[in-house]
Symmetry: C2
Amino acid sequence: MTHRFCAALLAVLTAAPAIAADPPATPAAVVAQAPAAAWRAIPADALLVMTIEGGKRVVIQLAPAFSPRHVANIQALARAHWWDGTSINRVQDNYVVQWGDATEKKSMPPGLTATSPLDYAVPLANRRLQVTPLPYADPYAPTTGYVGGWPVAMDGTSAWLPHCYGYVGVGRNLSPDAGTGAELYAVIGQAPRQLDRNIAVVGRVIDGMANLSSLPRGSGELGFYTAQEHQVPILSIRLASDLPDAERPRFQEMDVASRSFADYLRLRANRKDDFYDRPAGGVDLCNAPVPVRAAP
Amino acid sequence: MTHRFCAALLAVLTAAPAIAADPPATPAAVVAQAPAAAWRAIPADALLVMTIEGGKRVVIQLAPAFSPRHVANIQALARAHWWDGTSINRVQDNYVVQWGDATEKKSMPPGLTATSPLDYAVPLANRRLQVTPLPYADPYAPTTGYVGGWPVAMDGTSAWLPHCYGYVGVGRNLSPDAGTGAELYAVIGQAPRQLDRNIAVVGRVIDGMANLSSLPRGSGELGFYTAQEHQVPILSIRLASDLPDAERPRFQEMDVASRSFADYLRLRANRKDDFYDRPAGGVDLCNAPVPVRAAP
């Protein structure tokens, strides 16, 4: 009975062509059937390609619209090859995988931008964001939705990126330090939304997440690897735009203003297919991720 | 700057004695300072001790008050040593680790109890639950709180266990099959609350979670290991009550009616210490787990 848990899901994933004449019944079917017009190319200079020990690749999509100063620094650090030879130093279960310069002695490249806690959210004054609302309650914010390919939490004055699974944030010292972007972490468990607006969120892992999430947990305090454990070498981190054309990954995100995304959200909140008896009637912001795919 | 992300958290974890005269400022400090009266022993027949390849141990706390039929079956299967020689067959990133009889041919022990979808929630009629409310919005349920050591979601007629990180559910075939309890999975990512009331939740991993969450992800559909991959052998699964006294793990859970738990919840929802600038003012049901500790 190994396969019982997911028999229906498997059927759905493989049945999309067969039911193409009907409206898609599941989020996976919506994504599989979404027209080309529902997808947007992710710019190559917003893709960070991390290669770790064993040649394993992790691709991170950066969010310059939400964290412009931190993202500019991360782009500068990648162009300076700053992370080459650094390592993954911390893996705390149900929390984060963190990487950077374990020696804490490596000098910064010139021209990094100063950051502050004001960079943790985008003020809404004098700007009109096109928001696709998520009409369900959120424990952490008055309203939530999607803007320009990203989930956002909002109050009356600002919008910010949530700490969802796979999302990437910037390590910092005690406030008012807001971090340069050289020390990064990715969330590997239940969304630690208490970090929202306390740390800069700069992007999300869109490929190779398992190369981070399945790493051995560190036995030191807060999951740091001890001297007896193996810090995972980072071979290189590059912007896709700086890679040779043949090595450049290409990804697309679903347009959050598209009909396909509206269908996807409705079905994420109301699963009703062969496997599900009782639709939830709602979905958490971090449990309805924006679909991303490799460019066909 | 490797340690910057968590400098303050580290201080908190190590500073509890130094600040014992002050009210605890963090959830970790509340747990560290909670008096003996705030803790309750977890019964040995509600502890499932799973030993996998390499002698790695995973301890699961069962929830007989919420899933009595499924838990009775799991206790019977453990007493029959049914899982010995089975394996972990599926690891899907940000979803579940699943184990059971990969051959799907192993016969069931006698005396298992019939189950149905009615077992997914506890009816509230003719019963008064002592609920410690969690007074924050939830995307999946009208109300949430804690009952008898467990987080619960509720509507006007029933209460059910949520699919939080580390929570254990029962694989099943298509409805109305509700599973016997022989095929189990543990959540290893963002809480898949859409499964609530669609599958039986029977407990939670309280020790050794990393032995499941750091397993290599399966490359097959839905994360099943392929023939070229390594199914992880399960050496044994026993009830702690059936182990020799010297081998028997002993754990305690925080009393959800205690002052310590109230302080813990308040601080989980309002982090305000050296590291946090901006308290969230709320917390997700799955982001405020009931503290569990090894018995001192």
